[in-house]
Symmetry: C2
Subunit: 498 residues, 2 copies
């Protein structure tokens, strides 16, 4: 009967993948559509994405970038231009070959073939590179700092809601600079923005670093990344920023006349974060009762449920509930008014309470006729479901809201960090040790010296373990490579990854 204690039909321990799906269904966030690999993002899921989008968009503007919009379609000849890029993306693209349908024998068939097929953008370096080549003439035109919010398509054979979908939503920033130094500074600046938004807004702790050669974005010179640990011990890449050197500038012909009169290729960067982050939010914070939301992103901080058992009480209870919503809205969190929501739907209160539990709202407050004289309310704290309801004075509850939400936010972050630390090993000495660790634990992070020899990874390839990043934070003397025993310059994070 242990299962009856939880709001979801399956727990993390029973089946992590099924639990993940159950959280999404339980919170009514998204669902699979009739189109293979494409999802429908429902209102609760989309509100989370919109909140993340607002925060990230604000930081992208504050760092000097302007929003634009570029075409969905890319002609094949543009894709062909950057060889490594083709290699990396050609395998998973949707190809438009016709621009008309005709009815034949009662079914629609493609008609009017295109002279040149078009690819549905998997990313827009090639398309935007072509525009930059038009826009940039002189050093005075640089830097070009732009961003777009868009849908992109990468064919997925094993789709999972938010994590891996054929179509997903993202922002992609693209910049061009006069010098390598400036472009590298931009690459790091935007990774820092991702780190800040993911840690401070989504409350997901991350490790920032650079990708190893084998894990770079196709065509990039360096890929910088933030990596988070999910509750099953796997890594999830949560934002990447690419230093593209002059590769895409040469392919697209982005040249400028420099101050010294010489014609030079520009240095470009690109960086992106996607709806995948909603998957990371779930797998970091949700528990066996459903989603748990950091107050930074929660659409409601506080949901008020008026309990009306007799019509005679309705007016008084509703008035008290509305007063609470108003008083709560006068408090502040994260430099904004507390978001309090009155749920007056005509449904049983326990059904409503469990719905908000599954949706991850931080605080749920019930007010009934008996509370009115006492000035109390029944409070459910989403992080303390097991402790049951408490019955604070409404005035105390309101006065303490800001502090309570701040503590809620800190606690989610600290729980996630503690989980990660508990599943991170820094004392793995060799391949046998590493194999034993993943055999016993299934997953987790191994942080160990690595000599950065791609071929050496074959020793652990069968485990499904890869290098997630070479962290920015490095020890003075890493010691010998965990895979080869040769001297290593840096430590790497080894893990299984989403």
């Amino acid at each position: 009967m242990a299962k009856a204690k939880h709001a979801l039909p399956v727990t993390r321990a029973e089946n992590f993948a099924d639990w993940y799906q159950a959280v999404i269904t339980g919170a009514d966030m998204a669902e699979h559509s009739g189109v293979r690999g494409c999802m429908v993002i429902k209102p609760w899921g989309f509100r989370l994405w919109e909140a993340l989008q607002r925060r990230l968009d604000q930081r992208i503007r504050e760092t000097g970038h302007e929003n634009c919009y570029f075409p969905l379609f890319i002609p094949l000849h543009l894709i062909e231009k950057e060889a490594e890029h083709v290699e990396g993306f050609a395998k998973e693209m949707a190809v438009v070959t016709h621009h008309r349908l005709e009815m034949k024998d009662g079914t629609l068939v493609p008609a009017a073939p295109l002279e040149e097929p078009l690819v549905v953008r998997p990313t827009s370096e090639t398309m935007i590179g072509e525009a930059f080549a038009r826009w940039v003439r002189s050093w005075r035109d640089l830097p070009v700092l732009i961003n777009q919010w868009a849908n992109v398509v990468r064919w997925e054979m094993r789709p999972r809601l938010f994590l891996r979908t054929t179509e997903f939503l993202w922002q992609e920033g693209h910049t061009a600079h006069a010098t390598a130094e400036e472009a590298m500074e931009e690459t790091r600046r935007m990774l820092a923005v991702y780190r800040e938004v993911v840690e401070d807004f989504l409350r997901i702790p991350v490790i920032a670093g650079v990708k190893s050669e084998g894990e770079r974005f196709p065509g990039a010179v360096e890929t910088h990344t933030i990596e988070a640990m999910m509750q099953d011990g796997r890594a999830l890449q949560s934002g990447t920023s690419h230093f593209l050197g002059q590769n895409f500038a040469r392919a697209a012909g982005i040249r400028f006349q420099d101050r010294d009169g010489a014609l030079k290729y520009a240095w470009t960067t690109s960086w992106g974060a996607s709806t995948r982050l909603i998957g990371a939010l779930i797998m970091t914070h949700a528990d066996d009762d459903g989603l748990r939301l950091p107050p930074e992103i929660a659409p409601h901080h506080l949901v008020v449920l008026p309990i009306i058992r007799e019509e005679g009480h309705r007016a008084a209870v509703m008035e008290a509930a509305e007063r609470l919503v108003k008083a709560a809205s006068g408090q502040a969190f994260d430099a904004q008014a507390v978001r309090a929501h009155l749920d007056a739907r005509d449904l049983p209160t326990p059904d409503k309470r469990w719905e908000w539990v599954r949706k991850g709202v931080p605080l749920i407050v019930e007010i009934g006729p008996r509370d009115l004289e006492k000035g109390t309310a029944a409070l459910t704290d989403r992080l303390d479901l097991a402790a049951g309801k408490s019955f604070p004075q409404v005035s105390d509850l309101v006065a303490g809201l800001s502090a309570r939400l701040a503590a809620h936010s800190r606690r989610l972050f600290e729980e996630a960090r503690a989980m990660r630390e508990a599943r991170t090993r820094r004392d793995i000495a060799d391949v046998a040790d590493m194999r034993a660790f993943f055999a016993e634990e299934g997953s987790g992070f191994v942080i160990a010296p690595w000599a950065e020899d791609e071929a050496s990874l074959e020793a652990i390839a069968d485990l499904g373990v890869s290098v997630r990043c070479l962290p920015y934070d490095q020890p003075a003397d890493p010691g010998p490579c965990v895979l080869t025993g040769r001297p290593a310059k840096r430590v790497a994070v080894f893990a299984k990854a989403y």
Copy 2:
């Protein structure tokens, strides 16, 4: 030499289509991409779209709708379900037939054909109808009120920036209701929202009404529309709201158990507005010097240009310019702070001033060293370019900002309305009269009684004139049909259209 007076290389009178393109280029709003029919929306154009989007999104939420996101791709079998819909859209769709590319003889070719081709959404009634059929079971689940912001694709043979592009951005609202009355009320409510946003925010006067049978959305029972007149006398459909009856509900199987226990088909609506409205904004308000923006949508209300001819003046002039920006920001317009922007770029002042003229900023203020003692500034009012600069006291300028911007807004609306009224004829009695009007004037609105016989339109088909709408506002006794002389129940708006 008359041409030298204007900031654009071509005037409205010389060539309206070229002038339209020149406004867009002059304001750096958008450009054609390398993909036929697809545009790149540049920062200035995209800021206008984002501002419109924010306002419209706010109104869509306030009227009870929630944002979602549905797939870009629609399987052919779903498109086939609604017969009229197929008929209307099948001719102009992008069709995805493969999901991989392969390199063959040095070029990329489509590989891995799909079992069922996918259409890139031209609109989402079919896809969303399928979701509604999953979501709706009982009358308790109704109404469903959702909206999405998305890109859509309709193949365009004669593309024009913003007005007709193969890919465009829009919002599409989709709702399902238990009764025809409710769905009809929703259809009208959302048309009223469009009217309000287009008139009060974009300051474009419109005529609201219903489409004639031949102009309805494919599959709709009624299409409601707002129609604006552009400066060349042509009509531009600026937002439509469709009462779909039970057509799409039957095609998709959206059924619910009603209060009486009976299983019934839902009544649905859909409504959309697109980046086309940016085209309408240009063709309504721009003049021969470029864009003119209503302050409601202008990214900057006021641009301040510091004039620094000698380094010795720099500090004092910059300080005065910054003080003005700060003081202006303390004033209000449209319930928000006035948006003042300091343009301190190291470029010649006249170049900067003309750039902002072409971009349509309402007020441009220059401050130089000689202004400092006198407390004055040189003001360029975008609506009074011909009058030249005025030299108000800065304190007076700031104190009068709210009133000045409000007058600016009113004046743009009134100019557009006066232009429309001057080019509208209500006294056309028969086909000969109508032919004479369009032969002489080229374009304009003819508002005249019409017996709503689609076949009668053949008499004017060669003129390129069609019925834009049957206005909500109708005279008590319209009189005989302008085309047939038979009794008419309503007057119609006849015009050439974009």
